[in-house]
């Protein structure tokens, strides 16, 4: 009698588990970092819900995420040197390693097989197999006669199985070419003082480093690296009257529309508009505070901007035809990051001190949903898997 009962219970369990594990894709999923608790929430941008929370990832301040090319696995780069591979369908950590003492970001290679991490301590880049997280290469960022190690910033992937990054202390840009299997390093020296972040244009052709120590930007044409690093926008930067900068602007979010690039001014309450083709200044748009992220909606018709402390409870929207602010929103205290859905009908915005992520409709600016999160920071959707540089 009991054995029959046991069988019945077993069959019920089996049926239940089959019902639970219905198939689904990951194209409308994403990860939100909860920086203070070492956890992330996996979100669904169609249903506007959180599906899962994954914990146990250490210090996630300034954490970023890249995706495997099948968009199933998220690689989380933590501040404390942790690199974690998460299966976002199962909501579980697949593998986690501590690869350095202090890291700042990472990227995945063109073929999806290599994950590179940029480290502050010890300064350099480490490259891992995306499958196993087994170490493949170490690139120490040694410079000068004493071979001091520089902090590495602005790491991106570039076409041709390359990684490009900047050496903060050394004032250099390096290309690590993995097309032959082993890294071949090309170094560009004296590119400017204190490059603090880098970006690659969406087509993967130009790498641009922002300079904290002087004005202007360092530009490298990856189609013609033999031409060396050029200086562009000589008057971009803090200028003569150096205003305090309470949060470093992030270049990854630079907005590029067909004709314009929109850049955060450093230390000024302005967004700079530049001609994309000749890198000349067109105008500056006055905004609410010092811009941190300046992001174009995927169709390029709007640019969304968030701001540095202490004016960080606000987001503004710029119309890219009129080149002026058309909307001011208050998503909550300490807005840290924004992410558009792949076709741009929604934007997800994290407000750290409000402990919430808001979803806005970008056509009418209505708030569709508020999701409670613990000190949320970066929001990373799976369409990053398909974009050069991330």
């Amino acid at each position: 009698m009991t054995s029959v009962l046991r069988s019945v219970i077993l069959v019920c369990f089996l049926m239940l588990s089959v019902a639970c594990s219905s198939l689904r894709g990951t194209g409308d999923l994403g990860v939100v970092i909860e920086r203070a608790t070492g956890s992330v929430q996996i979100i669904d941008t169609t249903q506007h819900v959180s599906l899962n929370r994954v914990s146990g990832m250490g210090d996630l301040s300034h954490a970023i995420v890249v995706y495997s090319r099948d968009e199933r696995y998220a690689y989380v780069f933590g501040r404390d040197g942790g690199l974690t591979k998460i299966d976002i369908l199962r909501g579980k950590i697949v593998k986690r390693i501590i690869q350095s003492g202090n890291s700042i970001g990472g990227a995945i290679s063109q073929d999806g097989k290599l994950v590179a991490v940029s480290n502050y301590t010890p300064g350099g880049v480490k490259v891992f197999s995306s499958d196993t997280l087994k170490l493949q290469a170490i690139i120490p960022a040694a410079y000068g006669n004493e071979h001091k190690r520089s902090k590495v910033v602005g790491l991106v992937d570039a076409p041709g199985q390359r990684f490009v990054f900047s050496l903060y202390d050394a004032g250099q840009i390096w290309i690590a070419d993995f097309s032959s299997g082993h890294p071949v390093i090309t170094k560009f020296k004296n590119i400017g003082i204190h490059p603090y972040d880098g970006l690659i244009t969406p087509d993967g052709r130009y790498y641009i480093a922002g300079l904290f120590g002087e004005d202007g930007l360092a530009l490298l044409d990856l189609w013609h690296p033999e031409k060396g690093v050029k200086r562009i926008l000589n008057d971009y930067g803090r200028g003569d009257k150096k205003m305090p900068v309470y949060k470093m602007p992030h270049l990854e979010g630079w907005a590029m529309t067909e004709d314009y690039a929109f850049l955060p001014e450093v230390g000024r309450n302005e967004v700079l508009v530049v001609n994309r083709h000749n890198w000349k200044r067109i105008t500056s748009i006055a905004v609410h505070g010092q811009p941190v992220f300046v992001m174009a909606r995927p169709d390029g018709r709007q640019v969304w901007v968030n701001f540095a402390y202490p004016r960080n409870d606000t987001v503004q929207v710029i119309n890219t035809e009129k080149l002026r602010v058309i909307k001011t929103l208050k998503p909550g205290k300490a807005v840290l990051h924004m992410a558009f859905t792949p076709r741009g009908e929604q934007i997800w915005i994290s407000a750290r001190d409000a402990n919430q992520v808001s979803v806005y409709d970008t056509a009418n600016f209505n708030r569709i949903k508020i999701l409670p999160m613990t000190k949320p920071s970066g929001i990373f959707l799976t369409d990053r898997a398909d974009r050069i540089g991330l």
Binding site: A36, D59, R79, Y120, Y246, K375
Partner: protein, 116 residues
């Protein structure tokens, strides 16, 4: 009856307790900083200073600010760095945002070690 007898006693105790609190706070280096402001300052320290110095203050673009790291550094130098920033580095001056008293409280907190 008992209740009405106790009422003045309770008030007296409360006044005494308040006086005690005020005395304790006056002994503190930062006597004008309210509990609410302390919570804000600690959040600022971990979250905003932490964006360069690491949320655990073990360092990032900026140096580590743990008690161990600050052990051999002069207190005055740290206070001045927070107030006036450090030219040639991304460290901004905070004197337009924080009072001297608040900076002193922050430095006390750093030397004591910040609980997360």
């Amino acid at each position: 009856m008992v209740k009405s007898y106790n009422q003045p006693l309770k008030q007296l105790l409360m006044v005494l307790a308040l006086m005690f609190c005020v005395t304790v706070y006056a002994d503190d280096a930062a006597n004008n900083i309210t509990e609410q402001r302390r919570i804000e300052l600690k959040n600022l320290l971990l979250q905003d200073c932490g964006s360069c110095h690491g949320m655990t203050l073990k360092g990032g673009l900026g140096p580590a600010l743990t008690p161990e790291a600050l052990k051999n550094k002069s207190r005055r130098m740290i206070e001045m760095t927070i107030l006036q920033g450090r030219p040639g580095t991304p460290m901004p001056p905070w004197e337009s945002i924080l009072s001297r008293e608040e900076v002193r409280w922050l430095v006390d907190t750093l030397y004591a070690g910040v609980s997360q």
